[in-house]
């Protein structure tokens, strides 16, 4: 758990300490599954991911779209809210909730 990433900037200024009980706080986790062939690079998932987990890759799929991928280092940031899954018009990605 990296507090800096868990806490937005504005509150950061006032309450700067790492909360003592932060390790006992549970946060849901998700694993992003991307079906490359379906992605059309619309960017909805990237823009509206509240945790900024996704980005455009430099890989092309069959139709020449740069498919979406998970940002390196943010793999653990997905909280499985599944907003991307809901707003992907292509059924190109989905979230598996990681238990435990």
């Amino acid at each position: 758990m990296v507090l800096e990433k868990a806490l937005p900037e504005q509150t950061h200024a006032r309450y700067w300490r790492k909360p003592l009980d932060i390790d006992s706080q549970k946060i849901p986790r998700g694993k992003v599954h991307i079906i490359d062939v379906r992605c059309k690079e619309c960017g909805f998932c990237i823009e509206f991911c509240p945790k900024d987990v996704l980005e455009k890759s430099d890989k092309y799929n069959r139709k020449g779209y740069n498919v979406v991928r998970v940002v390196k280092g943010r793999e653990d940031m997905c909280v499985a809210c599944k907003h991307c899954e809901d707003i992907c018009p292509e059924f190109a990605l989905w979230i598996e909730e990681v238990k435990g």
């Binding site: 991307i34 509206f48 430099d58 890989k59 092309y60 809901d86 059924f91």
Partner: protein, 307 residues
């Protein structure tokens, strides 16, 4: 230097949770990148699931246009009918099989220009069908022509100087025609959209859900909105943004739901009332009430003819 070409086969092994409701052999679908129709389709799938409608009871009828293709992507009973006639077709299905959950997913032009008459009469009769209108303010499939929802001033290929006709205020239209459930959302409100469709699907009577959806090619481009993503961002507001692009007004007057360029789009649930449906009144006023329309002899005759 060229980027690596991928056609990720391991991706195909992935099974999207919606896949079981889709005819996956048809994917990727024909809709443009940045089009919102897929979101609506997704919302319908999740809504039907949420509303616990068994697959064999689900029917989707669509008309013509980009949205008309929605029906065919669903792995369930689906009918892709003629331009504007989806509601009439759905009316036939519903009357023949009142136990089925009949939804119409179609576009603004299909439902309200060529199909406007069927819409107003189905609403008037309180025909127990659910109409999901994907409103992208233009005729996308034929190349972005103006239609009955094109806002004044909006450019399309047939309104090159900007739209000059008063557009429909669809929630108001639906409400005044007698719909028992009227709501409007944007494709960005995927959760509310899903919940609203689920509500509509379980609502007895004529339920109408309008979905404001991006059309990057037909509408976004000529109106300099940009990509589908840019159009989606227009639906977004911040808590402190004034005026917001979005106001939720539960139960508010749909009369105020006009869509004007540069003004916030009013979304929310406008109408949720109860009244007898076409079939309720049919059975109440008319004499006969039986489950099966064929009598025993006829059933035998028909059964005997089975191939």
């Amino acid at each position: 230097m060229s980027a690596p070409f991928v056609d990720k086969l391991e991706g195909l092994e992935d099974v999207h949770p919606a896949d079981k409701w889709l005819r996956t052999d048809m994917l990727p679908h024909i809709w443009c990148p940045g089009c919102g129709l897929g979101i609506v389709l997704n919302a319908y799938i999740k809504a039907a699931e949420k509303a616990q409608i068994p697959r064999e009871k689900r029917v989707v009828v669509s008309g013509i246009g980009c949205s008309g293709r929605a029906a065919g992507y669903l792995n369930q009973d689906s009918y892709h009918t003629t331009h504007g006639r989806s509601i009439a077709f759905a009316t036939g299905i519903k009357i023949a099989r009142p136990d089925l959950n009949v939804a119409v997913i179609s576009g603004d032009g299909d439902l309200f220009a060529i199909g406007g008459n069927h819409f107003i009469h189905a609403a008037r009769r309180n025909m127990d069908i659910k109409v999901i209108c994907v409103n992208n303010f233009n005729y996308g499939m034929t190349g972005g022509q103006g239609g009955p929802t094109t806002p004044i001033g909006a450019k399309t290929t047939t309104t090159p100087y900007g739209g000059f006709e008063h557009p429909f205020n669809l929630p108001w239209l639906a409400a005044t025609c007698g719909a028992v459930y009227v709501a409007r959302w944007t494709t960005l409100d995927s959760r509310r959209l899903r919940d609203s469709i689920a509500e509509a699907l379980t609502k007895k009577g004529f339920a109408f859900v309008e979905v404001i959806s991006p059309c990057p090619i037909g509408f976004g481009r000529p109106n300099k909105i940009g990509s589908g993503l840019d159009e989606m961002k227009m639906y977004m507001d911040k808590w402190d943004l004034k005026p917001p692009n979005w106001i939720t007004q539960e139960g508010s007057n749909p009369r105020e739901a006009d869509i004007t360029l540069g003004k916030p789009i009013v979304v929310g649930k406008f109408v949720d009332i109860d009244k007898p449906t076409f079939l309720d009144l049919y059975w109440k006023i008319l004499p006969h009430k039986e489950e099966t329309p064929l009598n025993d002899v006829e059933k035998k005759q028909v059964a005997g003819a089975k191939a």
